[in-house]
Amino acid sequence: MPIQTQITVTVNGTRHTNPVEPRLLLAHYLREVLNLTGTHIGCDTSSCGACTVLLNGKAVKSCTVLAVQADGGNVTTVEGLAKDGKYHAVQQGFWDKHGLQCGFCTPGMMITAVQILERNPNPTEAEIRRGLRGNLCRCTGYHNIVEAVKAAAAASRAGGRKR
């Protein structure tokens, strides 16, 4: 039996305690142990960003974090973006602006977009493109992803004003 370590991670608001192998990647922990398969794996060199999740509020490539490093931490995956049956502005933007085709890059793309907007609620196109640099998409040519992020930014700002 390989060595196992006990970890406790809060994912999308739910606390999970599991024994894991120290070498288990966070991406595999989410997908295989917690069955949250919305987080995808597209490469083996930390290049594609399909696996991006928020760990303690920061976008990380979950294929490059060990599950044990997330012990005690707080993770948000694509499954945790919608709240109270309402899409996150970024999800809505991706749907409205056709920001996805095959959908494989989309969860990671959206999580990165969430972080871009958290850091800069009113980004320029160049800033959006710079922020998305670590996430590859082969289907969309990025055009509509950029439009989706712009739309999400506009919607969040409008929502913010209302509040």
Binding site: T37, H40, R138, T140
Partner: protein, 809 residues
């Protein structure tokens, strides 16, 4: 005509599940008791397998079984080729050589990544651990990776069946090129390398296979574009009865042609599941994907274009070495021949075309279709040579194109390569593109920028592509091993809800939305009442799949046929019950009306109910409401367009950036403009990627140097701009929707447009040609080389002048 759904940018019905993480891709399929497979792959490009020792691996933790090629030799068969070039067809010199392709190699390996053994364990990490412990003793053999060098006498030989590593020699001759060249005032010659590309669908391939010992059923989930063909070929190769094989293409994360084949892993995983009577999963790693999934392009071409000083082009000639890799992938022989050679007329009227293609084996990953497949290679040559021709004459590239376009036609036009285009108006997209892009102003800006270290260039590319694969008889005469028609079933349920079953198999194109738009339009019901099902051989009638921009042209037409059958039956029922002849009943706004008596009508739901309760059907009519259709088109469809690229080159560093991109496409009628634009965008990025940064590189020893995403430069969001798209509409006469297909246009036009732009930016320095990709180093060397040459020429003239003066004295 007002439409409810057709022509509207309806948001995609696929998206809610995909933006919430609920899509099921292959790697998301989990079965009770599932095992995990890792493949042992050859680290050598060419070697004899002397011995495989699995004793260390089989003792590793979690290992359940290990199979070598020899273990499964009798069960796995040989991977089939679905496109066979035969001497009997006029283009092919001799029957092509199709050497055996064992899914697990057992005598020799022929490329880095050739699989030699499969390790099955109860955990994916443990399977990978154990795979590393399989000891294979290899005897190394000579390696060749270059598609042209492979044909040389002293090149290492891959297959005894294929002397000189040559699989086929194929040609097409229209008119008399040599005669034209003799008479021509201008002949321009150029060698072009269309570099090898790695498709890079963001989801790698993967297979889950399950075997039911009670029913003898094998179920295979696989990331594929062609579930029905995978089932057919799997059954043919393994001998497992076809009716006991079920293939499911779940959510597929992109493909671009790279998931269009029966792959070794589908056979291996399926047969190992059968042997072990347990579910088995294999998911390709990305570095593994770079070795084991097909590549695209890889042509070496010697090109020639000829014509007159007034700008009239009279002929085009190419000789191409098409690198096929180590073995033939399913459609490999069709790509650099039919989809390439027959496309060399472009949108032009030059009457003389000569093309010769050598398909060659090398110690590299097999090459097959990659987005555009053959057409980007052809368009690249045609459009770059037209530019070179214009430059040689110091004429404007747009003017030369205009002069040589085929005149507009609506219903069929034969060209020099012998194919028949459906409908075309090639000036229209050029005119529209030039409305969007101020050419004159740009030329001024270009001149002004020159002193500042920024070199600007504009590049044009028109294109034509062959889509709507395919009229089966024509395709068969050219080598296709299967019919290329498409199917649909429309099932109207008793409650009036509808399921559409399509034989096409999307992987990002949004068929669920587009086909529901077509069905909703025809049936007059909301899209929410329609579900589109695809990708499961147990649910759908046989279908061909999704590739070659065929789904709406061929699959959409098959759908329209079924919708018509359903409506006809409903009309008959309504007529019968309203007591009028069927020809007097019209269907409008979801109701069947008696012509001229608008108050007499039956609504859609009522008629459906009548079809099922069967109380009062016309005499002899069967109950129920369902129709199936198979559509085989009469011709291909031929989309076209004009793309313009504007690049900026940093004179000091050679860095080349795409600044602006204008794309005007004519793909006939459009069902969902938003989806079409999305496909055009993605295609452009792939074409731009090829022009500026992508390229698979092999070392002399056959190692893939660009073996991971760290080394192969897939474009990022920062590498490309936003695109400006527009359309002209020339409906296709070959299908009732008037559609031509949209999936590949961007990729086809983008590479030549960007390259022409770069040469335009550099031409004043004396640079006439560069090969893709335009990495900074390539451009920097070219600029410096050109400047050095100019300087040398200047000082030579000065010296000559000086000595001339001296001599005069």
């Amino acid at each position: 005509m007002t439409t409810a759904f057709i022509g509207k940018s309806v948001r995609r019905t696929e998206d809610p599940r995909l933006i919430t993480g609920k899509g099921t891709y292959v790697d998301d399929v989990k079965l009770l008791g599932m095992l995990h497979m890792a493949l042992v792959r050859s680290p050598h490009a060419h070697a004899r397998i002397k011995k495989i020792n699995v004793s260390r691996a089989s003792k590793a933790p979690g290992v359940v079984a290990i199979f070598t090629g020899a273990d499964l030799q009798g069960q796995l068969g040989s991977l089939p080729v679905g496109w066979v070039l035969k001497q009997a067809d006029t283009h092919t010199k001799y029957d092509m050589k199709a050497p055996p392709h064992p899914p697990l190699a057992f005598e020799k390996v022929r490329y880095v990544g050739d699989a030699v053994a499969a390790v099955v364990a109860n955990d994916p990490y443990l399977a990978a651990d154990a795979a590393a412990l399989v000891d294979v003793d290899y005897e190394l053999l000579g390696v060749v990776t270059d598609g042209e060098k492979a044909t040389k006498r002293d090149a290492p030989q891959l297959h005894t069946e294929a002397p000189d590593n040559t699989c086929f020699e194929w040609d097409v001759h229209g008119g008399d090129y040599e005669g034209a060249a003799k008479k021509a005032q201008v002949v321009v010659k150029q060698k072009f390398i269309n570099q090898r590309l790695i498709p890079n669908a963001m989801e790698t391939r993967g297979v889950v296979a399950d075997y039911n010992t009670g029913t003898n059923q094998i179920t295979i989930w696989t990331s594929t574009q062609i579930p029905h063909l995978v089932r057919l070929l799997f059954a043919a190769v393994t001998g497992h009865p076809e009716q006991s094989v079920r293939v499911i293409a779940p959510e597929v994360g992109g493909a671009f042609g790279s998931k269009l084949y029966l792959y070794a892993e589908e056979i291996i995983t399926g047969m190992i599941a059968k042997n072990l009577a347990r579910p088995v999963k294999w998911v390709e790693g990305r570095q593994e994907n770079y070795l084991a999934t097909t590549h695209g392009r890889d042509h070496i071409t010697y090109g020639e274009i000829c014509g007159d000083k007034d700008g009239t082009i009279t002929g085009l000639k190419v000789t191409t070495y098409a690198n096929l890799g180590a073995y033939l992938s399913t459609f490999a022989p069709g790509i650099p021949t039919v989809l390439f050679g027959l496309m060399l007329s472009g949108v032009y009227k030059y009457p003389n075309v000569s093309c010769k293609v050598y398909g060659t084996f090398t110690n590299t990953t097999p090459v097959d279709a990659y987005r555009g497949a053959g057409r980007p290679e052809a368009t690249y040559l045609v459009e770059r040579m037209v530019d070179a021709f214009a430059r040689e004459l110091a004429r404007d590239p747009v003017a030369v194109r205009r002069k040589n376009f085929l005149p507009p036609f609506k219903n069929g036009r034969a060209v020099a390569t012998g194919v028949l285009y459906d409908s075309g108006n090639y000036r229209a997209p050029v005119d529209k593109a030039l409305e969007m892009f101020d050419y004159k102003a740009f030329r001024k800006e270009q001149r002004e920028a020159r002193g500042s270290g920024k070199l600007l260039g504009v590049g044009f590319s028109t294109y034509i592509e062959i889509c709507g694969m395919a009229p089966s008889a024509v395709a068969a005469s050219l080598g296709a091993g299967a019919g290329l028609w498409e199917s649909s079933t429309v099932r109207v349920h008793p409650t009036g809800k509808v399921t559409v079953f399509t034989g096409t198999s999307p992987h990002g194109q949004g068929h669920e939305t587009t086909l529901a738009q077509v069905a909703g339009e025809h049936l007059g019901i909301p899209m929410e009442s329609i579900e589109v099902m695809h990708g499961d051989t147990d649910r759908q009638q046989f279908g061909t799949g999704t590739f070659g921009s065929r789904s709406i042209t061929v699959g959409g037409t098959a759908l329209v046929m079924s919708l018509k059958k359903v409506k006809d039956k409903m009309r008959k029922i309504a007529a019968h019950q309203m007591g009028v002849p069927a020809k007097n009943v019209i269907f409008e706004d979801g109701k069947f009306y008696v012509e001229d008596i608008r108050e007499k009508s039956m609504d859609f739901g009522t008629v459906v109910g009548e079809a099922y309760n069967a109380k009062n059907l016309p005499p002899g009519m069967e109950p129920g409401l369902e129709a199936t259709s198979f559509f085989d088109p009469k011709n291909f469809t031929w989309p076209f367009g004009c793309h313009i690229a504007i690049v900026e080159i940093d004179e000091d560093t050679g860095q080349t950036r795409l600044k602006r991109y204008v794309a005007v496409d004519d793909i006939g009628n459009v069902i969902n403009p938003m989806i079409v634009d999305g496909m055009v965008h993605g295609g452009i990025a792939q074409g731009v990627g090829q022009a500026l940064q992508e390229g698979a590189v092999y070392g002399e020893n056959g190692q893939l140097v660009t073996g991971s995403m760290l080394d192969y430069a897939v474009p990022t969001a920062e590498d490309v701009p936003s695109y400006e798209t527009a359309r002209t509409v020339t409906p296709s006469p070959v299908n009732p929707l008037g559609v031509k297909g949209a999936g590949e246009a961007g990729t086809i036009a983008a590479s030549p447009a960007v390259m022409n732009a770069a040469i335009d930016a550099l031409a004043h320095l004396g640079i006439r040609h560069l090969d893709m990709p335009l990495r900074s180093e390539t451009v920097w060397r070219a600029i410096n080389g050109a400047k050095a040459a100019k300087k040398a020429a200047r000082s030579a003239t000065a010296t000559a002048a000086r000595s001339g003066r001296k001599a005069r004295r």
